[in-house]
């Protein structure tokens, strides 16, 4: 389209047509509004859920976990309870240190334990950690709802998930006793309570100093697990490498442990895009129909415009700009409506499920979502307005003028 056709006259003719067919114009605008709003709300919500799960599950859990093979475990369990030390720890740590896809790793000693508070007694487990290492794995400070984090974890302290603390009826500065399978026990002070928003962590997880645990176990060097964070989570080269080098280990990765979440994210993405696409398609088809009937009804006008000096390009512009105006108004309104609806969803209380612990629906108000929705809406209208406009530009004035 040349610059010549982008003039005020053509624009005012286009607006005249829009105003003359108010009802259709408004309907077309509503169509775009619905399509774009749905897109924005759905993508805000779906990606809110995705982000939430991502944050809770992936930020709270390691990407891969290295532990002794379960064969060893069962063999030793037949002799009564005994934790299995992870063999080749030095080699494992060296490999992890040198691997470019590893952002952090932390050694842990995990043991079953009975947790005893003043009023309650629960079977569970304790994670013995090295605070300096663990700090790089889990951003606990962001998750704290009371007390202090890894920095203040002494050998006499314990950190625990909020749901577990509730069950034990303890809060920060209360003491609890842990009893290990070997019968040894100690009393620790709760120095922090955290929440990741998912039950698999908040219901069970505790952190104590690895030194305390090793001491109680009577095995000052024992390490049972190594947790690893990866730069690129989808690249599991390091797992293959370690399994090849060391025969006595077993490696779990995030894909095995979080299959449902990964699949859920994909399903939500597909749902968002397909529903929005379908709605925009309907809106686009509506515009196409309206434009088409305008072109058919206005054949005489088009013929006249052509005889008095309006070129085919002018005609395309006159009709295309109508679609663009509809698209811009509809998409612009959708930004506001989409924001409002998203906002109301984001303050709607949500009943905690078996898996998620959260107060309201998660919404991700990303600027990109609004930008993509807007662009989508306008592009759809331009596309659906283009074909009727081109048809209009091809009207042969002689045929029309002769035809009455």
């Amino acid at each position: 389209m040349s610059k010549q056709s982008l003039n005020k006259t053509n624009l005012s003719i286009a607006i005249q047509y829009l105003v003359a067919r108010k009802k259709q114009s408004v309907l077309a605008i509503i169509g775009v509004l619905l399509g774009v709003t749905t897109f924005i709300v759905m993508i805000n919500f779906m990606s809110g859920v995705n982000d939430f799960l991502d944050n809770a599950v992936f930020k709270g859990n390691p990407d891969i976990v290295i532990k002794p093979t379960s064969k060893q475990n069962t063999a030793q369990q037949s002799y009564g309870f005994q934790l299995t030390n992870l063999e080749g720890l030095e080699e494992i740590n060296r490999q992890l240190r040198e691997h470019t896809n590893v952002t952090a790793y932390a050694n842990q000693t995990i043991s079953p334990a009975i947790l005893v508070s003043n009023s309650q007694q629960l079977p569970g487990s304790v994670n013995g950690i090295f605070p300096i290492e663990e700090k790089n794995m889990v951003d606990l400070d962001k998750r704290l709802i009371a007390g202090k984090g890894f920095d203040n974890l002494t050998e006499k302290n314990i950190l625990m998930g909020v749901s577990l603390a509730k069950k034990l009826q303890v809060s920060v500065n209360d003491t609890i006793k842990i009893i290990l399978p070997n019968g040894k026990n100690t009393t620790l002070t709760v120095s922090g309570i955290f929440s990741f928003g998912i039950t698999t962590i908040d219901n069970v997880r505790t952190y104590i100093s690895a030194k305390t645990l090793q001491h109680l176990l009577g095995r000052s060097e024992i390490i049972t697990h190594v947790n690893v964070k990866l730069k690129d989570r989808d690249n599991l080269d390091v797992k293959t490498l370690l399994l090849k080098k060391l025969k006595s280990i077993e490696i779990e990765d995030w894909k095995q442990n979080n299959k449902t979440i990964v699949v859920g994210n994909k399903v939500r993405d597909i749902l968002t895009w397909s529903v929005s696409f379908a709605l925009l398609l309907v809106a686009g088809f509506g515009i196409y129909n309206i434009q088409n009937s305008t072109v058919i009804h206005k054949r005489k006008d088009i013929a006249v415009l052509k005889t008095i000096g309006y070129t085919s390009e002018d005609i395309i512009f006159i009709f295309l700009i109508q679609a663009i105006i509809i698209g811009l108004i509809g998409a612009f309104l959708a930004l506001g409506v989409g924001y409002l609806i998203s906002f109301f969803i984001s303050i709607t209380p949500l009943d905690t499920s078996d898996f998620i612990i959260v107060d309201t629906y998660p919404i991700n108000f990303s600027k990109n979502h609004f930008a993509i929705g807007f662009l989508f809406g306008v592009l759809t209208t331009i596309l659906s307005g283009y074909f009727p406009s081109r048809k209009a530009s091809k009207v042969d004035p002689v045929t029309i003028i002769r035809g009455v």
């Binding site: 047509y17 005889t307 000096g309 070129t311």
Partner: protein, 222 residues
């Protein structure tokens, strides 16, 4: 010489084959009012569409204002029409949603040679000449047929084109309105020294033109 047509020949192939114009040649001078008459179906409209550059599928040559029209692209032809040719149809063909004023200035807005205020003044002047100045801001569909046809003439004149082509402009009008239209067209030729080529069935009109040409079955009897 304002307009010179040589050996214009045209066939229709669809819906049925028809030799509508047979080697038509015609010369028209500046300031002339030329009438074209003849039976319905003799080819008057077909010839006028060609002479006004709307229809380009014909053989032969057409020179308007010294310009060989075959050498112009569709876009150039459209611009040429905008500047030099005014066209009045049998049916008035105004844009119904637009006001009288908006209809009249459409060709001038496209030409873009004058400012809006000047255009409005020109339009009102034309409407005054045509006796319908009070309707300037009416929506065009609210006017009677005769009034609408006068608006269409004003629209054809707004760019002051050298040539006005009118295809049975009074075909749908009563006697009184027809007379007004004819008088206007004649004045355009005589006062403004523009050229008018008009198809008409009314003997009163073609007998009072500067030149009357009969069209018989696709040929001109000069």
């Amino acid at each position: 010489m304002i307009l010179e047509a040589n050996n214009i020949d045209k066939h229709f192939l669809q819906p049925q084959s028809h030799h509508v114009l047979k080697n038509v040649s015609l010369k028209i001078n500046q300031g002339e009012l030329v009438s074209l008459y003849g039976e319905s179906g003799s080819g008057k409209s077909s010839l006028l569409y060609i002479l006004s550059t709307l229809d380009t599928s014909f053989s032969g040559n057409l020179k308007i204002l010294g310009q060989e029209t075959k050498n112009l692209s569709q876009k150039e032809l459209t611009q040429f029409r905008n500047k030099h040719i005014g066209f009045v149809y049998q049916f008035h063909y105004l844009l119904p949603e637009f006001s009288v004023l908006q209809n009249i200035i459409l060709p001038a807005q496209k030409l873009g040679a004058k400012k809006m205020n000047d255009l409005k003044k020109d339009a009102v002047d034309l409407l005054e000449e045509l006796g319908i100045a009070e309707f300037v801001n009416y929506p065009s569909h609210k006017l009677s047929g005769g009034q609408q046809q006068r608006v269409a003439i004003a629209r054809a004149l707004i760019n002051d084109p050298q040539i006005i082509i009118a295809d049975e402009p009074t075909g749908n009008l009563d006697e009184k309105n027809s007379a007004i239209i004819f008088k206007t067209l004649k004045e355009i030729a005589e006062k403004r020294n523009n050229t008018v080529l008009m198809a008409t069935h009314n003997p009163n009109f073609y007998n009072n033109s500067h030149r009357a040409i009969e069209m018989i079955n696709g040929t001109l009897r000069l």
